[in-house]
Each structure stands twice: as C-alpha cells, then as structure tokens.
Amino acid sequence: MTELIDKICPHSTVSTALQGGDARADARQQLLRFGLPGDRTETWKYTSLRPLCVADLAAPVRLADEALTALAEKLLGDTPAAGVIVLAEAQCLLLNTPDWVHSFAELLAQQPQQASALLQPDAQVREHASDSFIWMNLAASDHGVVIEVPAQTSVPAPLHIIHADAASIGDDSAPSASHRRVHIHCGEGASLDVIEHFVQGGGGLSNVYRSMELDQQASLDLLQLRAASDQALMLEHSHVLQQASSSCRLWSLDAGGRLMRQEVRCALQGAAAGFAHHGLLLGHGRRHMDQHVLARHIAADCHSSQLFRSVLADRSRGVVNTAASVASGADGSDVQQHCASILLSPNAEMDAKPQLEILADEVMASHGATIGQLDDDALFYLCSRGLNEQQARSMLLRGFVNTVLETLPEGLRLAAVDQLVQKQLESML
C-alpha cells in the first residue's frame, strides 16, 4: 500500500519541493495513517483501485504554453468565455481571465498565508478522515486555480477550465500523477458559470480536490464534460458549502476515462439554499464510473436534487450513490433523488444506492432507482413508424439521457455537450 502511495505521491516531492510548510507534512501523515481505500471501505465497495495499481506513473512534465494555448483555442473555438484556465500536468495557464482568478502555485509563492488556508482540511474533510485522496491532494497539489468572485458580481459568460496532460497536445511523455487544487468562492449575490473540460489523452492520474463556497444569494453552475481517453484515471472530491438562499448546480457528463470517481459533499448551511447534482454515466469497454453524492440539509427550507441516468455497454460499470441527510430542525427540506440505468450488454454492471436519512419532521423527500434494458414495446413502436432498429435504439437512448440534458440552463447548452453525448451513444450501439 505504501508503495502505491509513493508511486502516486512521492515523498521527496512533498518534503522538499512544495510550499505549504507543516500543512503538507500533516496531510501526508494522515494519508499514511489511513492508507488507501480498499474493498472493505464502504464508500469504495464497488470501485477498485486496480487500474491505478497497474498504471506506470512518471513525474509530471512541464508543457509548452503555446501548445496548451493552441489546445484551448481548438477546443473552445468561438464558445463564449469569461476566461480560460488550463490545468496541465504540473502547471496552470491563465488565458484572458479576470483579476479574481489566480494560479494556486503563484498564490502559494506570493501570498503563502492566504494560500496555505487552502491546504487546511475543512470540517467536511475532518469528518470523513478516511478520504485518502484529499489528504494526498493537500499533501501534493502543486498547481490549481483559485477563483474568488467578488460580491454582487454577475459574470456574463462561463469560465472554462481545461484538464489536460502531455498526450492532449501530442507530447509522448509518460503518463503522470497530477494533483490539482481548485477553489471557487462566490461572494454575496455573485453568480458564476464554470465549464470543466476533461481532455486528458493518456493513462495518467488526475486527482482533483475542488472546494466551493457560496455566500448568501450567490449562484454557481458547474458543468463537467469528461471526454478523456479510455485510459485516463480521474479521482475527484468536490466539497460545497452554501449559505442562505445560495444556489449550486452541478452537472457531470461522464463519457471518458478508464476509471472515474467523484465524491461530492454539499453542506446546506444557510436557510433556503438549493443544491443539484445531475449526471450522465455513459460507459463502453471497461470504463468504470462512480458518483458518490451527499447533500446535507442543515438549515431549514433547503432543497436538493440528485438526478442520474446511466447507459452502460460492453463490460463497463457504473456506481451511483445518491444520499441526503436532513438534520433535526431542517424543516421544510425538499429532497429529490432519482437514478435510472439502462444496460446494453449482459456484462455491464450498475450499482445504484439511493439513501435518505431524515431527522426532521416536516420534510418532502423522494428517492428511486431503476435498472433495465431498452423497452421492447417502445422499440417496436418506433420501428412501426419506419425507423430502423439502429435509429430507434439511438432515439430511445437519446430520449433517456435527455431527462438530464434538459435540466441544463441555456448558457451551458454547448454544441460540445451534444457532440460528446451523441458520439458516445453511437459508439455503444
């Protein structure tokens, strides 16, 4: 186990090269104390780290800024953008970003005190101390981005974050382990849209720890487009902390990678705050995707929605654990959870685990999960109108995933979303 930790997070890097002082050493101590999760760890029961164990991981390399800029231009074209952030193997490149967007590494160097606060585990990390990959991130994250939207600022176009590696720009350096810190703070009444593009082309690991804080009446919409190569390994933690009347909506379109796991925890601390996590898991080959979501209703009158659709072909596997806890006194909470999955192959597997824990009296809550195949009656109906079987299957799958896509607000309905989904569905039929 220590061997694997050393492979992903070498001790030499942590102790010598990184700024952050004691916080780094403490985090590594915690990592060694808890070790990596195994099949006896409840939240990792359905997800094996084997693809990570067998991966050869080298040290991250520095890539040419020009090549990364060209990648961003190619990817985004004339898509509206308030700025672009490229997070590559060990660097953060800021392209036309507002002055409240900072490189985490630069912040560490220039304002170590402010930056080291981002290396401290927050309350949610301490509560779930066995989150090894967060400790690993706190110990080893050498780059990332810190976004501080000032109060009452409404950002007119989305910020784009591109997650890249050497292979994304055609560089043949060996795959590496990359630890990225992303922090987003929306001041009171501020509103921001962020689109994350995952375009890693190789078999390296990106370990992302994302923290998002929303002050009163702030609003954050975050779309994750995972289109990485079939070898990419993506392990992510996203923590959300929301004050009164704030809104955080997260969409995950998982259509890439060999192993993808995201654990999302949201604390609805202020009254009448709203949180949503909607996701699509589209799998073929041996892809493994795991979304763990927990919405914690702490204050009254908050609402949360967790909506997932999975389509799994070949030997792919999906895991969706939607959970909500409603604390005593969080009356007026509204909790919606729904997860539906279609298996296109007898070897595909879906593990759905909806959970509710309700300690308040006046609560509206619903949860449900279904796993099935394409409906024969619906296929016959479409074919009887002249669609061939391929067209009918494609139309049914498209309709199935539209339930999630239709919840995207206008500003996040990019052509890239449609292309990613369509390409993925076609590869499964």
């Binding site: 109906y381 061939n388 139309m395 498209r398």
Partner: protein, 254 residues
C-alpha cells in the same frame, strides 16, 4: 392491396389465429369485430411485424410483396401503419422531432428529398389543427402524460403525416369521448381514398357510424366466421355474438 391466406399464428406456443383469410382491395375499408380473445389485436400486430407472434402457416401478400419476409420498419416504409390500441410513451423524445424523423425515414427510403424543418412544421401544425390537437402536445415527449384521447389523436396525426397505403386501426375508439370520437373519425375519413385501404378493429358498432365500412367481418376463435355489409355490425350490436356461435355449432354438426 392485402391478401391474407390461411394464416395460423401462435403466441408462446398457443394458437391464436387458426386459418384466417382476408382480402382487402385498394380503397376499401374493412371492419373486424369479434368477442374478447378472438385474435383481433393479434391480427394487427402480425401485420405490423411484432416479435413474439409466430406465423406457423399461411401467407400475407401486401401490394404484391411477401409481407412476412419484411422487417417492422420495412413494412412501415412499404406503407403499413398500425394505430396502436395503447400508444407507447417515449420519455425525452420530442413529439415533432419523432414525427419528422419518421416521415424523413420514409421519404429517404423512397428516394424522395427530406422535408426541411419549416415545411414539416407547417404541415404538422395544419394536420394537428384539423384534429383539434393542442399545439403544445407537439413539443412534449411522445405520448408522455397525454390523456387517452390525446394519444389516439396523436396516432391519427402520425397516420395523416405518413400517408400509409394500409392503415390498421386497433380499437382506436376505446377511451374516446363522443366529441373526440367524431373528431378522430373525421380525421380517418379525410384519409379515405381510392388508393388507401383500412382495417378497422373495434368492439363497438358506434365507431362504424362514423367510419362507414365497405365490409364487416366477425373474427372468432382465430378465423373469420362471418362477413357482410355494414348491417352485420348492427345485427351484432343488437344480438351479440351468441347467434354466430350457434350457427357455427350447427354447421359443425351437419
């Protein structure tokens, strides 16, 4: 147009149709009536090509082609249309997008140019208006949350757009109130012409007041046991099916 000869069909090894013969000329409207379990809906499904209905004997010739050799979509493209007794809801698929895809699949297969969005929408709105259909239903998911009557109107709308050579209406009257029955029937009647045939499957004579058939057949025990003009439907309404059973028993005894 359609020639069914000695059709034997099984579902789960259970015989449902036992030597059915039916001949429909171009431009004719035939009605098929019969008691529950006689095999009426099976006939509709077999014509449309649904899985699970095994043809063990007999043949179906449609416009000179062997219908049984064709797949479900090939039959639809060739001009067979089944208006479902229970239309299926397709969540997430926009109704007008579905109708346009279906129409263009047919046009493409026939070497015709695909219809652009504007001309299609014009045609769609016009046809929906004739059926007194709420335009909002065109932008909703196919049949999802539609009332029974709205689903049936949507079936007739599809038929009007696809202009089939043979329309099989499977209990299109079930679940319709009196006004809806009139509107849907008028929709069907508008499509009657010399080149189009219809097979109307129903339990009740009242539909045939609106869609007046050329021939009425009675289907019982998997075969046609009586055929006649529209007056046969009136007699069935008045006397039920018992007299046919007696007639059959007498025939068997002699």
């Amino acid at each position: 147009m359609l020639k069914i000869s000695n059709l034997h069909v099984e579902v789960d090894n259970k015989p449902i149709l036992n030597g059915l013969d039916l001949h429909i000329e171009a431009g004719q409207v035939h009605a098929v009536m019969g008691p529950n379990g006689a095999g009426k809906s099976t006939l509709g499904y077999v014509l449309a090509g649904r899985d699970g209905y095994t043809v063990v004997d007999g043949s179906i010739e449609f416009m000179g082609q062997d219908l049984l050799a064709m797949s479900v979509d090939e039959r639809a493209i060739a001009g067979v249309f089944l208006a479902f007794q229970y239309p299926v809801a397709i969540p997430g698929v926009n109704n007008s997008y579905f109708l346009r895809t279906a129409l263009n699949a047919r046009r493409r297969a026939r070497g015709e140019e695909e219809l652009d969005a504007m001309s299609f929408m014009r045609q769609l709105r016009e046809q929906a208006g004739l059926l007194d259909m709420d335009p909002k239903l065109l932008q909703r998911s196919v049949n999802e949350g539609f009332s029974g009557g709205e689903k049936k109107r949507n079936e007739i709308l599809q038929m009007a757009l696809l202009q089939p050579a043979l329309a099989v209406l499977d209990e299109t009257d079930s679940g319709l109130d009196i006004d809806a029955l009139r509107i849907v029937s008028e929709g069907v009647n508008r499509l009657r012409d010399d080149n189009r045939s219809m097979l109307v499957i129903t339990h009740y004579q009242r539909l045939l007041d609106h869609i007046v058939p050329d021939v009425v057949h009675v289907l019982a025990d998997g075969r046609i046991v009586a055929s006649g003009g529209k007056e046969l439907a009136l007699k069935l309404e008045d006397q039920g099916y018992a007299w046919l059973k007696q007639q059959g028993d007498t025939r068997k005894a002699s």
